[in-house]
């Protein structure tokens, strides 16, 4: 039986592809932190579940195309890069590498 290729060191399996609708989002634990995982147009993206304005939970916000709106004060972030697109956020939130191997989704534990 052939083995699935490994995603590499520091990658954590977080879910199966089918667990997150497209478009859709969820929160997963990666190492020691909570990560907002987005599934849009057949691809996965991962950001810290943390708005850099006031610490709001991004994954509870409204997902539209490739943007997520923080539910607390409406700051908009690009889910592909973590970049803050609108006030009141001015700093990007951390973006994490995602790999999909077969049916499994992996997110890379960030180095501190």
């Amino acid at each position: 039986m052939s083995q699935s290729p490994s995603p590499g060191p520091q990658y954590v399996r977080v879910c199966r592809v089918g667990d997150v609708p497209d478009p859709g989002k969820t929160v997963v634990e990666v190492g020691d932190r909570l990560v907002a995982l987005f599934h849009v147009a057949g691809r996965f993206y991962a950001l810290d579940d943390l708005c850099t304005h006031d610490g709001g939970p991004l994954a509870e916000g409204e997902l539209q195309d490739h943007t997520i709106r923080c539910p607390r004060h409406g700051a908009l972030f690009d889910i592909r890069t973590g970049q803050a697109l609108t006030m009141p956020a001015t700093q990007p939130t951390a973006s994490h590498e995602v790999k999909v191997i077969g049916d499994e989704v992996f997110v890379r534990i960030p180095e501190e």
């Binding site: 929160v27 634990e29 020691d32 932190r33 909570l34 006031d54 610490g55 939970p57 501190e112």
Partner: protein, 440 residues
């Protein structure tokens, strides 16, 4: 969707086993049961509540920890910052709530001072401490962790100083946890009229793995009494620390309360000082240093209930790496608390671009002849100060350390216990790292 599952290991059966093992007076058993019911029926804190808005508990798992009262851990007591240097009049050490060491100078025992393991005293003198314990433990409105503590407290520290007795050397209490262990210690301090004492409480241990402290401190400073109280929290970086601390200061009494927070993965502390009698005086000193991904949250409350009370709170915090400090302060002056003099200040020094502090002072004043001041600051280390120090021959790292030492000096000068001040200075100096990019 909540990520916190119902705590599967914490069943009614587990609680009953624990409660039956206690050998305690009926009023205490009843209190535990009521508190346990309250714990079960109170939902986990939600970030929509103001109190928890900036403190994210979603990674906390109750089921990783066990009930207190199991077999004594095989681990050794971890090293502590203060230990021998300050235990002059007495010493108490617990590990996961189990007694490890206890002594009290015979002179103070003869004078009627009680110092030792709280759960032992409650068994031996149940009615003597009931008035101090029962109302405080029963008062847990809407707070899941306070209810858990009231249900499961064990071990603990008691200091009771009788009327007029002046204990002129410090007493020391260390509550430690083993790696993966938990501590539910309750600290009760009672100074009767005119008494004096110094008590230094330290928390240490836990290592890098998860640990839990769910504790409470209740302090009664009688009329004219003088108490110096220190809480030094230096847990390992994996420990979750929840603590409710409450002091009532009676007429013309004085409390100097120093709280230092250096460790823990996440610490959520509520510190309440009630100036309950006319002329009560409380000085509160806060020292916080957060690094890595630590989250330290301290909610302070200065409650002026009677006239001519004086409260003076100064918190200083330094942060580096991706640490997050939350300080929420409130001064409340009741209608009858005329001639109140209340002061509250929180200063923060950010040593990295990715650290974050939320500093929120508050005032609620119902009297009309008072003096109340509050302020909050947050800033980076000034490049000019670093350059000036370097031009005098210091390395960049030495220069940053010097600036941090200077930043904390104002609060250190208020700590009148030399050994505590020196230990904090040394601990913070060791932790400081330089995060700024080198020039050029």
């Amino acid at each position: 969707m909540s990520l916190i599952e119902t705590h599967t290991g914490w069943t009614p059966k587990s609680f009953e086993t624990f409660a039956r093992s206690r050998d305690e007076p009926a009023w205490l058993s009843a209190l535990r049961r009521q508190s346990w019911e309250r714990f079960l029926s109170t939902p986990m804190p939600d970030r929509s509540e103001e109190e928890w808005r900036r403190t994210d508990l979603r990674m906390f798992r109750f089921e990783r920890f066990g009930f207190p009262g199991g077999p004594s851990p095989a681990a050794a007591v971890p090293p502590a910052m203060l230990a021998e240097q300050v235990a002059r009049a007495g010493r108490l050490v617990t590990l996961d709530g189990h007694l490890q060491d206890h002594w009290l100078d015979a002179r103070w025992e003869a004078a009627g001072v009680r110092f030792g393991l709280l759960e032992d005293f409650v068994r031996r003198h149940p009615e003597e401490l009931r008035a101090y314990l029962e109302p405080q433990l029963a008062d847990t409105p809407g707070d899941k962790f306070a209810a858990l503590h009231a249900a499961l407290w064990s071990g603990g520290t008691l200091l009771l100083v009788p009327r007029g007795v002046s204990v002129d050397e410090p007493l020391y209490s260390l509550m430690a946890v083993s790696p993966g262990g938990s501590d539910f210690g309750h600290t009760l301090v009672v100074l009767e009229e005119g008494a004096e004492a110094t008590l230094i409480c330290e928390h240490a241990g836990g290592g890098e793995g998860p640990g839990l402290h769910c504790g409470a401190t209740h302090v009664f400073v009688g009329p004219g009494a003088r108490l110096r109280l220190v809480h030094l929290q230096d847990w390992g970086k994996g420990v979750w620390h929840f603590a409710h601390q409450r002091a009532l200061v009676q007429a013309d009494a004085r409390l100097q309360w120093t709280l230092a927070a250096l460790g823990a993965r996440l610490a959520k502390v509520n510190q309440y000082v009630g100036l309950a009698g006319p002329g009560a005086d409380a000085q509160v000193n806060g020292v916080m240093f957060a690094e890595g991904r630590q989250h330290l949250a301290c909610h302070t409350f200065q409650h002026h209930q009677a006239p001519r009370g004086k409260s003076d709170l100064l918190y200083k915090g330094a942060l580096q790496d991706r640490a997050h400090v939350v300080w929420r302060g409130m001064i409340r002056v009741d209608r009858d608390a005329q001639k109140t003099d209340g002061y509250q200040r929180d200063d923060n020094l950010l040593l990295s671009e990715t650290a974050r502090v939320d500093s929120i002072p508050g005032l609620e004043i119902l009297a009309d002849d008072v003096k109340c001041t509050h302020g909050a600051t947050a800033g980076r280390v000034e490049d000019e100060m670093i350059f000036y120090a370097q031009s005098r021959g210091l390395s960049r790292r030495e220069a940053v350390r010097l600036v941090v030492a200077g930043f904390f000096q104002q609060v250190f000068d208020r700590i009148t216990i030399d050994r505590v001040r020196e230990a904090l200075e040394a601990a913070i100096g060791q932790r400081v790292r330089d995060h700024a990019e080198p020039p050029g």
